[in-house]
Symmetry: C2
Subunit: 147 residues, 2 copies
DNA sequence: TCCATTTATATGCAATTGCATCTAGTGTGT
DNA sequence: ACACACTAGATGCAATTGCATATAAATGGA
């Protein structure tokens, strides 16, 4: 139980502030354009990348570090809107397989330009290319599967 | 509207993931000890640092990048618990002055060891001292008052 | 095979958040 | 002093989150 150094505490505090600031920028822009919240995009992208058979909810959960009950309901909403299709898993009776629909793909594509501009405004505009790389590398260490 | 580079997008994505992971660690530990959520600590600390006359809600809001309505209600809860005292602002009829109470100070002190250990686990354990400094510096750029 | 444990996902209910808007002061220009 | 735009803060209501727990199927033994 070593106590954190001053710079670790500062890093944590700034992680919170930076995240809050950037997230607010992104969510506000999406909303202003009448688009769904960020999490929808993230799930759709993950599913699109996941490829053919689809992904299990628990895989999404691990990849995106979402709380299980939040993901469950997020999928409900995505399904209601017709962006995602749930089918029973062939090999696991408890589970399901998630697939992005054509409508879901279209929505993801539609969101991207707005999201991209927001990311640039919230993050890119503040960093040089090399700073962005360094930041990405350091942040990855905070949730690396294993240290 | 330049599009963000690949590394900027990665930095943003990882900012989200890292924040989610670290926050979950911190909040879980606080909860496990029966302590109030993180935001309470942050407000109490800010008020304690703010010193004698106290702070106006809008000052807190700017410092912590909180949404106005969230802060308003967070203060309600803190006041209900007796951790914070609201008094009418002398020089601005619309406003109020917030002060931390003795009980609030005591709670802040009580939270700190748990919070500190959580920060170390969530952040410090993953970074060298120099990495922590670099990370803190880079994150600060993302919400700098002016670029 | 049977039982206990664990894993995958859902859900009722309370607390919090977000949105939109409201009220009440402030400040400025005339 | 008046009209108007702006700032500080609160709040009703709907949506989301968090918590605790439920259900059902898989898994690992004995």
């Amino acid at each position: 139980m070593t106590s954190p150094s001053e710079s670790v505490v500062r890093a944590w505090t700034r992680l919170e502030r930076a995240h809050r600031a950037a997230l607010a920028t992104v969510e506000n822009r999406l909303k202003k354009e009448g688009l769904p919240p960020l999490a929808w995009y993230d799930v759709l992208l993950e599913l699109e990348r996941g490829g053919a058979p689809g992904l299990r909810p628990f895989e999404l959960q691990k990849a995106m570090l979402f709380a299980q009950y939040n993901l469950s309901r997020l999928i409900d909403r995505l399904e209601t809107q017709g962006y995602v299709a749930r089918t029973a898993s062939a090999d696991d009776g408890r589970g399901q397989m998630l697939a992005i629909t054509a409508k879901g793909r279209a929505m993801r594509k539609k969101i991207w330009p707005v999201y991209a501009a927001a990311i640039e405004a919230a993050v890119g505009a503040h960093l040089s290319p090399s700073e962005a790389r360094t930041l990405a590398d350091l942040l990855a260490k905070l949730y690396a599967p294993r240290s």
